[in-house]
C-alpha cells in the first residue's frame, strides 16, 4: 500500500464544487492543514485565489509558524512528507504529552511505542529523535528513534531488524560487504552516506534515512 500524498489545491475550500473528500482517505486534508500554515492569512471572503507556492518551511526551535513565504517551492510529495514528519510548527496541536498508539493490532515493534514527539512535551518525558526510514522498493516507511542508539553499529542492527530483506541481502552477499547503502538527508537537504561523520555530529544533522540497494 503506497502512501497517497496528494497536493491539494491550496484554495480548495473556496471552491465549493470541488470535492476532495471521497470519504475513504483522510490523508489529503490532513496534509492540507500544514499547507494552510504556510500561506498568508487571507480574509475568508477574498475573491483572490491563494498563492500556489508552498514554501518548505521547517522550524527547529522557536519559530511559531509565522507565515513567512520566502522559501523554495515544493518540488515533490516527498518534501511535503518531510514537513509533516519534521515538526513544522511548534506546539501545534496543543498536546502536552503525545499519547502514542501503542502496539494495537498492527505493527507491534517496541520502538514504535517509544518513538514519537516526546520532545514536544513542555514538562515531560525524555528526548526522542525520530527520523523516517524509507527503503527503496518497500512501500511502507518506518521510523527509528536515534536517541535509543549510541553508535552506527546499533543503528545498522536496528535497521537490519526493521528491513529483513536487507538482512537477507547481507547474508547472500559477502558477509562483510553491505549490499545495501544507507544514506541520510542532513540539515541542508544534502544526501550523504551514513557513517562518514562522528555519531554525535550525525545525530545533530540527520533528518531522515533512505536505504538504497
Amino acid at each position: 500500500m503506497e502512501l497517497e500524498l496528494g497536493l491539494a489545491l491550496p484554495n480548495n475550500h473556496l471552491m465549493k464544487g470541488f470535492d476532495l473528500n471521497d470519504g475513504s482517505t483522510t490523508n489529503s486534508y490532513r496534509k492540507r492543514g500544514f499547507e494552510e500554515a504556510f500561506e498568508k492569512v487571507i480574509p475568508f471572503s477574498s475573491p483572490l485565489p491563494r498563492k500556489t507556492t508552498l514554501p518548505l518551511f521547517v522550524h527547529k526551535n522557536g519559530g511559531d509558524g509565522d507565515d513567512e513565504n520566502d522559501g523554495p517551492q515544493l518540488k515533490n510529495p516527498d518534501e511535503l512528507n518531510s514537513i509533516s514528519g519534521s515538526r513544522a510548527l511548534v506546539g501545534w496541536p496543543p498536546v502536552k504529552h503525545p499519547r502514542r498508539r501503542s502496539a494495537g493490532g498492527g505493527a507491534g515493534e517496541r520502538w514504535s511505542e517509544d518513538c514519537g514527539s516526546n520532545s514536544y512535551a513542555g514538562g515531560g518525558g525524555r528526548r526522542a529523535k525520530c527520523v523516517k526510514v524509507k527503503m527503496e522498493g518497500v512501500a511502507i516507511g518506518r521510523k527509528v528513534d536515534l536517541c535509543l542508539h549510541d553508535s552506527y553499529e546499533e543503528l545498522f542492527h536496528t535497521l537490519n531488524q526493521m528491513f529483513p530483506t536487507m538482512q537477507h541481502g547481507v547474508a547472500y552477499a559477502h558477509p562483510h560487504h553491505r549490499h545495501f547503502t544507507v544514506t541520510y538527508e542532513d540539515g541542508e537537504g544534502d544526501w550523504l552516506l551514513v557513517g562518514d561523520v562522528p555519531w554525535e555530529a550525525f545525530i545533530q544533522s540527520v533528518k531522515r534515512l533512505k536505504i538504497l540497494s
Binding site: D64, G124, K143
Partner: protein, 589 residues
C-alpha cells in the same frame, strides 16, 4: 506557636456602629476557620481592617496563581500561619514548548523564605515550576512536619531529588510527580525507611526507569492508609497483582502495562485481586492493553467514577465492553483510537457522564498509516455523546473535522457546559460540509451555555466568533485562541465584553497593538495575558508598560532578527514589581 495579637476592646468607647464588629478576634478567627476557598477568604479580607487581620491570622492555605504576581516575603508578611502552599509558575503555553527553557519560576527563593517563616509547612503543590534536586533536598531537610508534595508539569529535578524526599520526610503522606519532566537517573530513590508507614498517596506514573519492586511492595504492605497508587510502565501484571493483594483499600489506581506477562500464573489470580478492591473510584495507566487481560479489571469497575484511558490505544469494541462495567462513570478520558463507534458506546453506557476528554493518538501525524484508517473521531461521535450524556459539562475534543451544525446540536443537548475546549487539529479548517467558518459553532456555545467559564476555540474563525464571545460569554474566565480572527476587532470584542476574564492566551492571530491597548483597563483584573506570533511591536508593548505601571509587560526575544516585532508577550499584574530573576531573553518593559 504563633503569637496572637491581643487586642483590648473598650466597648464603651466604641460608637454603636462599630459595636457589631468589636467581638474578640479569637471568635472571628474561629469562625473564619470554616471559610475555606481562597476566593471566599479574599472576600472576607476586604470587609474591613479587623476582618482583614482576623483572616490573615487564621489562613492556613495560600494559593498563588502566578508566582511572579507577589514575592515570597510579601506572602510571609501577610500570612503568618501558613501550612499549605499552592504555586503556579510558567504560562500554560509552556506545555507546548512555546516558552524557552530557563525562563524562570524557580521554587528555591520561595523555599528559603518559607524555611524561616513557615518552619511547620506541611504541603507544597506546584504546577509548571522549576524545581532542582538542591531545592528538593533543602525542602526535605528544612520542614520536619512536611507531609504532601505534588509536582505537576514541573521540571528541573531528577530521581536524586526524590531520594532526598523519601529519605528525610518522616511524616510524608503524599508524593505525586505527575507529568513532570524528571531526569531519570534510575537508582533506588524509593528508599523510605522501614519504620515509615504514613504514605497515603504515591504517583510516579511518568517515571521512565524501574523502581525497586521489593522496596515498593514492602512499602505498600506496611502503609495501611495508602489510598492512591499510580505506578509506572515497569510494573507488570504479576507485580501489580501482588501490590493489589497488599492494598485492597486503594481508591485510586494507576496500573502499568496491561499485557502479556509470563510471570502471571493465571487470569483468575489477577481478577480476584481486582475483585478485592471494592473502593476503587479512579483507574488510569493501562498502557498497552491486551484484550485478553482486560476482563480481569471488570470486578473493580463497579464504583469507578473516573476512568483515564488516555494512554491506552483501545478499539471501540473493547471500550464498549469495559464501559458496560462502569455504570457510575462521571469522568472519562480516551484516545481517539476508539473512534466514533467508541463514543457511541460511551453514549449508551455512561448516562451519568459529566466530563469527556478525547485525545489524539497521533497528533503530529508521524505514525505509519495503520490498517483500518485510524481517522480518530469526528463530529458524529461528538453529537452521539451529547445525546446520551445530558449531564456533560466538561469537554476536551481533538478532531480533524467539525461542523457548525454538529456543535449547535451538542450544546442544545448539553446546555450546561462550563468548560468547552474544541481543538480542530487542522489549522483554520472551516466547516467541512459547508465550507463556512466555524463562527456559528462557537456562537451557539456561548449563546446556549450561560455558565461557560473556560473556552478554547479552533478552526477557521473570523471576528464574528469573537463578537459572539464578547456579547454572550459573560461568565468566561479562560479563553484560548490559536490561528483565528481577522482583525484587532476580534480581540477587542473579547476584552470589552467578558467582565470575568482572567486568563487570555493567544497565538498566531492577526491581533496588533490596537487590540493589545484596548485592554488597558482590563489587565489589572486578570491574572495574565499571553500573545505569541501576533502583530505586536515593541512600541506597542512599551506603551502598555508605560501606561500601566502595575503590570509586568515582558517580551521574550529569542533571536535578533526583527527588533521591532514582539514575538512573545506575557503581561500580568504584580505587586512585586518587575522580575529580578529574568533571564537575558526576557525583556521587562
Amino acid at each position: 506557636m504563633a503569637i496572637k495579637k491581643q487586642k483590648e476592646l473598650d466597648i464603651e468607647e466604641k460608637s454603636p456602629e462599630n459595636r457589631i464588629l468589636s467581638f474578640p478576634d479569637e471568635v472571628l478567627e474561629r469562625v473564619l476557620v470554616f471559610v475555606k476557598t481562597h476566593k471566599d477568604r479574599s472576600a472576607v479580607s476586604l470587609v474591613c481592617r479587623d476582618w482583614y487581620n482576623a483572616e490573615r491570622w487564621s489562613r492556613t492555605h495560600v494559593f498563588i496563581g502566578n508566582c511572579y504576581s507577589v514575592s515570597p516575603e510579601m506572602v510571609a508578611r501577610r500570612f503568618p500561619n501558613i501550612r499549605s502552599v499552592t504555586l503556579k509558575g510558567k504560562p500554560r503555553f509552556s506545555d507546548f514548548n512555546l516558552v524557552p527553557p530557563n525562563w524562570g519560576s524557580d521554587i528555591h527563593p520561595w523555599l528559603v523564605v518559607f524555611a524561616s517563616a513557615y518552619p511547620f509547612l506541611e504541603e507544597l503543590r506546584l504546577k509548571r515550576m522549576t524545581v532542582t534536586d538542591e531545592s528538593l533536598d533543602f525542602l526535605a531537610r528544612s520542614f520536619p512536619e512536611f507531609k504532601a508534595l505534588s509536582l505537576v508539569s514541573c521540571d528541573g529535578f531528577s530521581t536524586d531529588g526524590l531520594a532526598s524526599i523519601t529519605t528525610y520526610c518522616r511524616n510524608l503522606t503524599e508524593l505525586d510527580i505527575q507529568e513532570s519532566g524528571i531526569e531519570d537517573l534510575g537508582g533506588s530513590w524509593l528508599n523510605f525507611p522501614e519504620s515509615f508507614t504514613s504514605l497515603e498517596a504515591l504517583n510516579f506514573a511518568n517515571l521512565h526507569s524501574e523502581v525497586n519492586f521489593d522496596a515498593l511492595e514492602r512499602l505498600v504492605a506496611r502503609c495501611k492508609s495508602l489510598k492512591v497508587l499510580k505506578v509506572n510502565k515497569h510494573v507488570m501484571l504479576e507485580q501489580l497483582r501482588r501490590l493489589l493483594v497488599r492494598a485492597p483499600q486503594l481508591t485510586e489506581l494507576g496500573t502499568g502495562p496491561f499485557s502479556q506477562d509470563h510471570k502471571l500464573r493465571s487470569h483468575i489470580d489477577l481478577e480476584s485481586a481486582f475483585s478485592n478492591c471494592k473502593n476503587l473510584n479512579t483507574l488510569s495507566g493501562l498502557w498497552e492493553v491486551s484484550s485478553m487481560y482486560l476482563p480481569a479489571l471488570f470486578p473493580a469497575c463497579t464504583n469507578l467514577t473516573f476512568l483515564n484511558l488516555s494512554y491506552t490505544a483501545l478499539q471501540s469494541a473493547e471500550l464498549a465492553k469495559l464501559l458496560q462495567k462502569c455504570p457510575l462513570l462521571r469522568r472519562l478520558w480516551v484516545l481517539d483510537t476508539v473512534e466514533d463507534k467508541g463514543l457511541e458506546a460511551v453514549a449508551s453506557s455512561c448516562h451519568l457522564l459529566q466530563e469527556l476528554r478525547v485525545f489524539p493518538a497521533d497528533p503530529f501525524e508521524q505514525e505509519v498509516i495503520m490498517e483500518g484508517g485510524g481517522n480518530g473521531v469526528t463530529e458524529s461521535g461528538f453529537v452521539a455523546v451529547s445525546e446520551g450524556c445530558p449531564n456533560l459539562h466538561y469537554v476536551l475534543y481533538f478532531c480533524h473535522q467539525m461542523t457548525n451544525a454538529a456543535v449547535a446540536t451538542v450544546v442544545r443537548n448539553c446546555p450546561n457546559f462550563t468548560h468547552f475546549r474544541l481543538c480542530i487539529m487542522d489549522m483554520r479548517r472551516p466547516d467541512y460540509l459547508t465550507n463556512e467558518p466555524m463562527d456559528e459553532a462557537f456562537g451557539a456555545v456561548v449563546k446556549t451555555c450561560s455558565k461557560l467559564r473556560r473556552l478554547a476555540v479552533s478552526g477557521l474563525l473570523t471576528d464574528r466568533a469573537f463578537e459572539y464571545i464578547g456579547t454572550y460569554a459573560k461568565n468566561l474566565e479562560t479563553l484560548s485562541v490559536a490561528f483565528a480572527g481577522s482583525s484587532d476587532r476580534g480581540m477587542q470584542c473579547v476584552l470589552e465584553g467578558c467582565p470575568k476574564l482572567r486568563k487570555l492566551e493567544i497565538r498566531d492571530c492577526p491581533f496588533g497593538n490596537a487590540a493589545l491597548l484596548s485592554g488597558l483597563e482590563r489587565y489589572e483584573s486578570m491574572r495574565s495575558l499571553w500573545m505569541s506570533a501576533c502583530n505586536l511591536t515593541m512600541n506597542g508593548c512599551q506603551l502598555l508598560a508605560r501606561k500601566m505601571p502595575r503590570l509586568n509587560v515582558e517580551v521574550i526575544k529569542e533571536d535578533e532578527s526583527d527588533d521591532m516585532h514582539a514575538e512573545k508577550v506575557y503581561v500580568y499584574r504584580s505587586v512585586a514589581g518587575p522580575r529580578r530573576d529574568a533571564p537575558p531573553f526576557v525583556l521587562t518593559l
